[in-house]
Amino acid sequence: MMLSDEPYRWAEAVANRREYIEDQIRPGSPVVGVGYEGGILLLTLSQSQQKLFEVYDRIGLAGIGHSTDIEKLRQAAIDMAHAIGFNYSEDDVTLRQIVYFGLGPAMKAGFDDVVRSPFLARVLLAELDGQEGAQVFYTVDYDGAFHRRETWAVVGGVAEADLMMGRVFSELDAEALSLTDAADVALRAWAMGRWVGTMEDVPDDVAELEEMADGVDVDDVLKTELQNLEVEAVVLGRSLVGKNKYRNLDAEEIAPALARFKAD
């Protein structure tokens, strides 16, 4: 079949591909990034499988989707960062480069190549105190489309999940959040994303979805999920000594934010 000769079939093939990919990613565990007074917090819930990763001194990565696809993207980002860091300097390693010239094109090429499996993943990257600002996030979709955000960013299983998660952050002064408040808002956002990801049918009408979302008991969603899943959280912390700003948060540090969501 010559795809270029048959525009309708081509459009149909792309739509099928999107549908397939989105079905694969939808049930995954969302990831959340939010700035706080000490830097950037990345948070997700998982069944003890690592989902948050260090890319470079001030850059972290998180993804939703097929674990091996996320792994390939993670490795590509790390390779690129270290090659630039060595051949130029640490200051030349920027998240913008990694996304514009690395992950974005790689994911786009994977999506366009119809004879190969695409990347079944959406990723979120965060950069602390880079050339673009104190807290910068990029999200890269499975088709290579990327978006830049400041102060917070999310990736859920589908675009509608991102929208509902984003509502949690409205009217929030992210730079002034304490770590506990940042973890609290991240957990709530995660729960909204989870809720959308597990819906049978996500309504096409956003207003309708928002109305349904208003009726969701976030505490309840989290209490249920925390019975099977564990919180994974890392920070890019400004106060860390040395060049390396990436650090795992331990259970005690996340406990205050978690306390209210634990089942009684």
Partner: protein, 268 residues
């Protein structure tokens, strides 16, 4: 074949990078060098009570010219290890830069720390890669690698020859042009002064390192001594269970006054 990745030198080669020693080939032949190579000078390391102390003077020379008096030859590789260099600074700094990235790259890429034997092996391979430059007489690097092994709970010191052979030093080591002047002194101190290096507390250890570097500079013109006019002290670093620490100028000034100029100066 499946490969796990994590080899930083492999990654560099893919980007077109070639190690200085690899580029030389036969280009220089047997001709005399058209310039005096830059060299660094006295390095010492010993076990003290809390871990390992590593110190080096700050001078870099080219022939009988003093090229630079602020060179830092004790280079941090990660939070628990340093490489101290005598020999060619150009190659040594390149090796240190590769290693620093290689350790981080391995840890991030493979999601585990590089083991101490692997770190030693990486350094050894880079010294071997540098053999062409060492053979030309312009780029030999004789490093000392010091670290704190958290698994064994003690500091460790390794030294290398120009071909990359690696040796662990039990008590102390010294390399560089000033090292013959103090090797015997270090042996004497450790054996007969009544206080082994391993028993010295932090301040005593730093004080003795300053005395030894001053001794080296007395006999070796390529080893710098404390520059009163410019206030330049040697580099002194400690590695303990809590990691790597650089001794600040203020403390060095105080201990220099005490151990090299002052009250402790007359005592071993």
């Amino acid at each position: 074949m499946m490969v796990s990745g994590g080899d930083f030198v492999d990654l560099l080669r893919q980007t077109g990078y070639r190690f200085p020693g690899e580029q030389l080939g036969d280009a220089a032949g047997d001709r005399a060098l058209p310039f005096e190579p830059t060299e660094g000078t006295t390095i010492l390391a010993f076990q003290y009570a809390d871990g390992v102390l590593v110190a080096g003077d700050r001078r870099a020379t080219a022939g009988n010219m003093v090229l630079y008096d602020r060179a830092d030859k004790v280079i941090d590789l990660d939070a628990y290890s340093v490489m101290a260099i005598s020999g060619s600074p150009a190659v040594a700094f390149e090796i240190a830069r590769i290693l620093e990235h290689a350790f981080q790259y391995y840890r991030r890429r493979l999601l585990q720390e590089m083991s101490l034997p692997a770190k030693l092996r990486r350094l050894s391979l880079l010294i071997k890669d540098n053999l062409p430059l060492a053979m030309q007489g312009i780029g030999a690097v004789i490093p000392v690698f010091a670290t704190y092994d958290r698994r064994d709970g003690r500091g460790k010191i390794y030294f290398y020859d120009a071909l990359g052979a690696q040796f662990e030093s039990a008590d102390f080591t010294t390399t560089g042009s000033g090292s013959p002047a103090i090797r015997g002194a270090m042996y004497y101190l450790n054996r007969w002064s009544g206080r082994r290096f391993a028993e010295m507390d932090r301040e005593t250890a730093i004080g003795h390192a300053l005395q030894l570097l001053d001794t080296a500079s007395e006999y070796d013109s390529a080893t710098g001594r404390y520059e009163r006019s410019a206030d330049i002290f040697p580099s002194v670093k400690t590695i303990t269970a809590s990691g790597l620490a650089e001794i600040e100028t203020e403390e060095l000034r105080r201990l220099y006054a005490q151990y090299v100029d002052g009250e402790e100066a007359g005592r071993a």
